[in-house]
């Protein structure tokens, strides 16, 4: 009986999550401080105190200040990706001609490691904010295009036939059928895109900037300040999680039918 009860408690989602987290932190603490050189990955208490110190300090080497350019550049690139990638993905999905003529390039660029373009971007834009925003945009626009495109292409023949039978054509077809049917894919595109935008901003700042979270990551790395480095990584993780959550909310608000249909949640 007692063991049965223990098993039940363990099966509770939160208990399991918290328990694994506690075990993870304790093991990390022991391994990171006693077994490995702390320079390797540091350990939780050191990282926590570095995090606390950096969180309240100001200036170039802190958590708050450098977050501003990173977020700005992430959202500038992401915004451009939506403005350009979303319509382009829809057009590629709808128009056969555009698909045939442009899709090979989109696909080629989609599979290319796009970070390889950074030296070229430096030649175009020099070093500084425009180059960073462009890198961010360039990394994040493709997931937007490709997901939207796939979404349009995924609309089943029977849905399109039905639209035809009920004389839903032109702009109405777009508004009542194509756009809502594609919406869950657009949400997936936004999620991948905003993640790529953050990667783009951080990587670009590591190479092209003297500010931002990307820059201080390299700086802390250069000085072997592992605990501080880890604190920045954790902050980026938190930012990523929050952004994802935001997109999720958007999805649940506007594509609720898909969420419930799949029995998700």
């Amino acid at each position: 009986m007692a063991s049965n009860r223990a098993l039940q408690i363990l099966q509770n989602k939160w208990v399991a999550t918290i328990l694994t987290f506690v075990i993870f932190v304790v093991v990390w603490q022991i391994v990171g401080s006693y077994i490995l050189n702390p320079l390797f990955i540091s350990y939780p208490t050191a990282i926590a105190s570095a995090f606390a110190r950096l969180a309240v300090s100001t200036g170039q080497y802190s958590l708050i200040g450098p977050t501003v350019p990173t977020l700005l550049e992430t959202f500038e690139g992401f915004g451009l990706s939506i403005l350009i990638g979303l319509p382009l993905g829809l057009l590629l999905g709808i128009s056969r001609t555009l698909d045939i003529s442009l899709n090979p390039y989109v696909n080629a660029l989609y599979v290319t490691p796009r970070i390889a373009m950074i030296p070229l971007i430096i030649i175009w834009f020099g070093i500084g904010e425009p180059a960073i925003v462009f890198t961010t945009f360039f990394l994040s626009v493709f997931p937007m295009i490709v997901n939207t495109y796939v979404g349009v292409r995924d609309i089943s023949k029977s849905m399109l036939d039905t639209a035809e039978v009920f004389s839903i054509r032109g702009l109405r077809r777009f508004r009542y059928v194509i756009l809502p049917a594609t919406f869950p894919f657009i949400i997936a595109g936004l999620r991948l895109s905003i993640g790529s935008a953050l990667v783009g901003a951080v990587v670009a700042q590591m190479i092209l900037s003297l500010s931002g979270l990307g820059y201080i990551l390299t700086a802390f790395g250069d000085f072997f300040q592992t605990a501080q480095l880890m604190a920045v990584i954790i902050e980026l993780m938190i930012i990523g999680v929050i952004m994802n959550y935001g997109i999720d909310l958007l999805g649940k608000r506007f594509a609720d039918w898909k969420v419930t249909e799949r029995g998700y949640r």
Binding site: S158, M159, E164, V165, F166, S167, A255, W257, T260
Partner: protein, 252 residues
């Protein structure tokens, strides 16, 4: 004649091989105004293909279809269609689904029609639901309401009951028959179920297997109004069923 189908032929190009698959081999039949004409035939004989041609979303190779002497050349709101697989738009609520074919109507009238036809299929109170929150039988009733909301001259029904369970199908048959009678609709009713064909129609067009031709057209003069259970118990019912079985090659 209200609906005239004249020598309709249709083949499909098989994409990989060079060969073509002939499905319809000169189908002709007609329907008077207010008549329910069933199309029955073995699976794969081209019933759905025929209905799709009638709906204007598939093009015949030759032959013609006329509704009130007007040649059918594409989809139009003089025909409503009920699909074998329901085909509701999952992102729309029930009332949005029912109103989707009548976007051109003024808002007031549109609302009224949606209300009328949802009531006709006994779905008041489900306006704000989404399709996945309804049972299969209920979803198909939405499909019927959506097609009826067009107030079409001809209602095309493609195996509407093939994807609901037997019990629900029986109830739906009674409901459909009432809707047809109340609105005096001209209906082309596709099924592969003999009892359904006999129960629902005024005439039954029997198709052969692929490439399909019309084997026979049977008049179905069972008395109206019909009720599933009572009608089935009539001696005429048994006679018609035997004739139909013979025609379909299931008995001699």
């Amino acid at each position: 004649m209200f609906v005239e189908v004249n020598d309709v032929k249709k083949s499909f190009q098989m994409s990989r091989q060079k060969e073509t698959l002939q499905v319809l081999d000169g189908i002709s039949f007609s329907a008077d105004q207010g008549e329910v004409v069933s199309i029955i035939g073995p699976s794969g004989c081209g019933k759905t293909t025929l209905v799709r041609i009638l709906a204007g979303i598939e093009k015949q190779d030759s032959g013609s279809i006329k509704i009130e002497n007007h040649e059918v050349t594409g989809p139009g709101s003089n025909r409503g269609m009920v699909f074998q697989t329901f085909n509701l738009f999952p992102w729309m609520t029930i009332e949005q689904n029912v109103g989707i074919g009548i976007l051109d109507l003024p808002e007031e009238e549109r609302k009224k029609r949606v209300e009328t036809y949802l009531a006709m299929v006994n779905l008041q109170g489900f306006e704000k639901y989404h399709p996945h929150q309804l049972s299969g039988g209920m979803q198909q009733r939405v499909g019927v309401a959506r097609a009826m909301a067009l107030e079409p001259k001809v209602l095309l029904v493609d195996e509407a009951l093939a994807n609901v369970d037997a019990q629900t199908a029986e109830q739906l048959m009674d409901q459909l028959l009432q809707v047809f009678a109340k609105t005096k609709k001209t209906v082309i009713y596709v099924t592969h179920n003999m009892d359904e064909a006999i129960y629902m129609s005024n005439r039954i067009v029997v198709l052969s297997k692929r490439p399909s031709k019309v084997i026979q057209v049977l008049d179905d003069e069972l008395p109206t109004p019909r009720w599933e259970k009572d009608t089935r118990a009539m001696p005429e019912y048994g006679q018609l069923r035997t004739t139909l079985r013979k025609s379909l090659g299931l008995a001699r």
